[in-house]
Amino acid sequence: MDTSKKGLYHPVIMGHNKHPFHFEKKEEASVIIEAYNQLCGDQFKLYLDLDGDKILQAHFHGYGCAVSKASTSLLVQQLEKRRIEDVKILIDKYLNMLKGEGEELVEQSPWDELSVFKAAQNYPARMKCATLCWEEIQRFIDTK
């Protein structure tokens, strides 16, 4: 299997699956968002500490496949120190990238890593794993 091009199990994904970023419970966080995929039972809690419209800290915890865990880990990494309006732009870009729409993203951080999830296009049944927590944060922002 070619893990560098078509395959879903890219080293970036496997790395974040094994060593997820800020993977811990923070029940005292100012905002707790739950994400649940009813198709497979994947379930995460996202813990955000907000200061006005800025995310100071982000953590997550829960259970999911390598793809959902890694995609959430990379998301959480990107949330910290960002303003909500910037997060919204980031999420839109990410989701558009997965749909194969929008601008061609330059190969620099964070897109050098986030672009590995484009492989999900080859696995329609796994697309939700790459978008689960991203869509939940998007929903949170849209209803805020």
């Binding site: 299997m1 893990t3 395959g7 879903l8 199990y9 496997m14 198709l39 497979c40 039972g41 994947d42 379930q43 259970y63 999911g64 496949c65 390598a66 793809v67 696995y123 049944a125 796994r126 794993c129």
Partner: protein
């Protein structure tokens, strides 16, 4: 591979199909749906090429031909299940519709506050949710037979749960998630002593062991054709004639009536009372062919093959120290549910697919069971008459790939 198995595999055209990975397809998901032998596919095609029209009331040749084929299919199912009368065989869309029919037509009459309905923790949602909803609507109590750690029904608990207030015992014959073969005769007898009706979900069992509903003693038995080498969309509800005659129809419309006037409607006799609208005639014809195909192979061969596959799979797969088998009942069908270390079942499913291997991953429509097991899902390899030892070897090789990627 034995010569018989080689011949059987030739009967299933889809098994020779190339997988996009370029590797030969290994289909290990027959508990979800079996593949179809050429005779079944041709029976369906022949029916539409040469015999189709609407059944009943047509006075022309084609309608009589289609009606005769539909009637013959019903009689085949009757003999297959050991039912006493052809009109005890109701064609439905599948096991799910059969259970919903009984929950609606009989359940709503019986369920009330003070009574109870007994199911088990290993039920498929199809034999759980209709009863749960019925209980919620009526105040009837839903009692759930617990399981042992091996995935067997707790028979001591079952005996206590089935009591004089039990109106229905609805039980799966073979668990689709665990492979457990339940001692249904014993439980049917217990329920009957207490005056309860009994429904058996035979979705998994019909293709793995001979069924004799009269010997079994159940009031209702349901199965889906697509797990028995027949097309999707056709299934069967068996019900004892004297009960089916007493209960009201499920759906209303054409064919299920004797006469209709502006003021009132008289219902048709069995089995038509429960078959409103034009049925899946072609599906019934193809189901008959599926049954015929299975009977030609014979139960002795099928059961021995099942036993060998399960035993070989269990032996080979347990060579992985990180693999844990989910469901270790003493009496078990050829369904192998497992967890593989920390690897999520969906990751396993995707990686095995790249190796050309089709297994099912997830909760298998048994979420109460998964909750009890404290797992979000499992990986499940399930076997049928066309599976081989070599395919189990391929699964072992596939899991080795998974292991290498995840360590």
């Amino acid at each position: 591979m034995s010569p018989e198995l080689k011949e059987i595999r030739k009967d299933f055209p889809i098994l020779g199909q190339a997988h996009p990975s370029g590797k030969p397809l290994v289909y290990l998901d027959s508990a979800a749906s079996s593949q179809k032998p050429r005779v079944v596919i041709e029976a369906l095609s022949d029916y539409y090429l040469h015999s189709h029209s609407n059944i009943h009331r047509g006075v022309y040749h084609l309608s009589q031909k289609a009606t005769a084929l539909h009637d013959a299919a019903r009689e085949s199912v009757q003999h297959f299940l050991g039912a006493a009368h052809p009109e005890e065989i109701i064609f439905v869309r599948g096991a799910t519709e059969g259970i919903n029919l009984i929950a609606h037509s009989l359940g709503t009459r019986l369920a009330k506050s003070g009574s109870n309905i007994v199911v088990s923790l290993m039920e498929h949602h199809a034999n759980f949710v209709p009863w749960q909803m019925l209980c919620r609507e009526t105040g009837c109590e839903l009692r759930v037979i617990p399981l042992s750690v091996d995935g067997e029904l707790d028979l001591v608990q079952a005996e206590q749960l089935i009591d004089a207030n039990t109106v229905i015992l609805a039980l799966v014959h073979i668990s689709n998630s665990l492979g457990t073969l339940n001692p249904i005769e014993k439980l049917i007898t217990q329920a009957q002593v207490k005056g309860a009706y009994t429904l058996i979900d035979g979705a998994q069992s019909v293709s793995h062991l001979p069924i004799d509903v009269q010997k079994m003693g159940c009031d209702f038995f349901v199965f889906s054709g697509h797990k028995l080498f027949a097309p999707t969309g056709i299934g069967v509800l068996y019900g004892k004639k004297e009960i089916l005659e007493e209960i009201p129809p499920y759906q209303l419309g054409g064919d299920m009536i004797r006469s209709v006037s502006v003021e009132r409607t008289l219902f048709n006799t069995l089995p038509y009372k429960f078959e409103a609208g034009t049925p899946d005639i072609g599906g019934a014809v193809a189901l008959e062919k599926g049954i015929e195909y299975l009977e030609q192979i014979g139960w002795d061969w099928i059961q021995e093959h099942d036993r060998q596959l399960l035993s070989y799979a269990t032996e080979r797969l347990q060579s992985f120290p990180e693999l844990s088998v989910i469901g270790q009942a003493k009496n078990k069908s050829s369904i192998f549910s497992f967890l593989f270390g920390e690897v999520h079942p969906h990751d396993m499913g995707t990686l095995l697919d790249e190796e050309g291997i089709a297994i099912r991953t997830g909760h298998h429509c048994t979420m109460p069971l998964m909750e009890y097991l404290e797992v979000p899902g499992t990986a499940r390899a399930s076997f049928s008459i066309y599976n081989t030892f070599e395919e189990i070897d391929r699964l072992v090789e596939g899991l080795t790939v998974v292991k290498n990627i995840f360590t």
